[in-house]
Symmetry: C2
Subunit: 381 residues, 2 copies
Amino acid sequence: MTALPSDSVGIVVPQHVAFDSPLSLTCGAVLDRHELVYETYGTLNAERSNAVLVCHALSGHHHAAGYHHESDRKPGWWETCIGPGKPMDTNRFFIVSLNNLGGCHGSTGPGSVNPETGQVFGPDFPAITVRDWVRSQVMLADHLGIEQWAAVVGGSLGGMQALQWSIDFPERVRHVVAIACAPRLSAQNIAFNEIARQAIYSDPCFHGGRYAEHGVAPTQGLMLARMVGHVTYQSDDGLREKFGREVASGDLEFARDVQFQVESYLHYQGRSFSQRFDANTYLLMTRALDYFDPAQEYGDDLAAAFARSQASYLLVSFTTDWRFSSERSRELVDALVRARRNVSHADIDAPYGHDAFLLPIARYMDVFGAYMDRVGSEASA
Amino acid sequence: MTALPSDSVGIVVPQHVAFDSPLSLTCGAVLDRHELVYETYGTLNAERSNAVLVCHALSGHHHAAGYHHESDRKPGWWETCIGPGKPMDTNRFFIVSLNNLGGCHGSTGPGSVNPETGQVFGPDFPAITVRDWVRSQVMLADHLGIEQWAAVVGGSLGGMQALQWSIDFPERVRHVVAIACAPRLSAQNIAFNEIARQAIYSDPCFHGGRYAEHGVAPTQGLMLARMVGHVTYQSDDGLREKFGREVASGDLEFARDVQFQVESYLHYQGRSFSQRFDANTYLLMTRALDYFDPAQEYGDDLAAAFARSQASYLLVSFTTDWRFSSERSRELVDALVRARRNVSHADIDAPYGHDAFLLPIARYMDVFGAYMDRVGSEASA
């Protein structure tokens, strides 16, 4: 390929760390040992005050920015927001992005070998919650010598991790940026996740999660699950803009296997995802979403949960995001105000639904960049 | 059981009619012969001016009101609106309700035997459009000696048939009542239908639609398809009201197989549906939804399509219906006004999403009843 874009961090190399101290999980299980894969962008300053943690969402991983080799066709998943001069400016910040525990991109997860059995964990991998992720991210912070994050940043499920950090480790987070997020899932959210799980369970290649032992994978079920996710992460307007009712093949008038373009698009998205993601991890991630409910152990009082926090917050929502609507961000704002926290909220007018948090929308970039600029000034002050 | 409710039509008996004159379908195929099963409620007056046709939606059938025997636990699917003193008052109207061509409740469909092969049609049953349904309903009207319907009434896909009647057979329809309807599906609607179809195709028991020959049925796929439909026919608020995040079983803190109540509910709904409905018919019905686009042959001008109509219209929409939103009904209103048709539109504030059209919501019943009262006065005038 031609030279890499000048506003990219360029070639990046994933790093691995193994933790031999046990990690106690919310479900009661204990992982004696686990590994995380992560990437870093930018340079940690002498005061170690400019570190930013990026938390990924349902289908994300550690590769958030840059390229793995010169011939990479696609950069990291959040290239729009991470790089020189971008909202998370690598000229100012030392950015850490990991693959979460339970993931399928190099960190310990259902695809790893269970030391107790010598077999792949598969369905025996313990259930993981957002709190568990934060605890394992604390171990990563300690490993990197980062006492306090200038900011913990994430969209969707990633934003939930950022919120949980500020509740569970208040002294270690100065700023939280939670984008397209919610204080917990609605019944509708849970229902869509359950449909995705059922699609995976129903695949004859799932084998109760032991597909690896059978040398197969439930790609059809995972494809279906992703199709459900994909439709719900976009807005009706967005899909109309993109496809309307254009017919991709066949003739409406003589139609059994007519395909509207939106169908071919969904098939393509679902199929390619099913070939690069692990079904057990997808199940684990959707469950982590369902379980997330920081207010629960504070008598269902979200303000009480945030009362322990010492962080300031930026919340961003998108007008056509119906999965995690603007209303859900306002719930967070109300709770944070009642908890006497500093909070800014930008509701961005965009037709792209939930997926908007990945896109370079001008006002979103401006708001995000301006807030991170403040975070950076503090860090270097 | 105890005596049947006094506001019910009571015991009803399905009737069958076989048409031996060929029916040419939009897809080019010709059905030399087809049967329809239907029910009637109330009495046809001497002038034959009080007949109302009820058209069913995706998962509906001919049994819209009353009970089949004394011990029936459940009445017909639109019992809320059909009966003595109800919006479709059986003291005034002669109501006809059929199972559409392609259905799985007694009318000729994919489960019927193909006279050419002596085998069950299965996937070889031709694609059916809303226009084809109207044509076969015309044959039923002729059979019953009904020259003109006082009203053609339906919700969702049923409303689309009512609209198509007024376009294709203007002289045979005085009033159209189209509830929770749309002029055509959006890309998002089509996407959800395609996910449902993929769920069915993916079931190993589907056998390319020839499951009957294998003595099995793709119940798991059909269950998944119905779960997708069910979530999207309800509103986020409605599901929250019904279930919130209540846990049905298991302990959130020690959870792999935790179930939120909304999940058990979806499983139950999906499973029971998959045991009473045919997968090939479900595929056929979702395609009929996707194809519906009356404006298409009028240069995509909906007003031009309605210009031929001689009917008056009542449109009803529901504020939390996001599958066929109030906006879609307003598109219909605009087109009908431009076509110089009489049209009333009631947007009913209700938290129940698309499924609201089946529920006895006070203002909805009042509006529907008042309009049908006008229809009835004309009929007896």
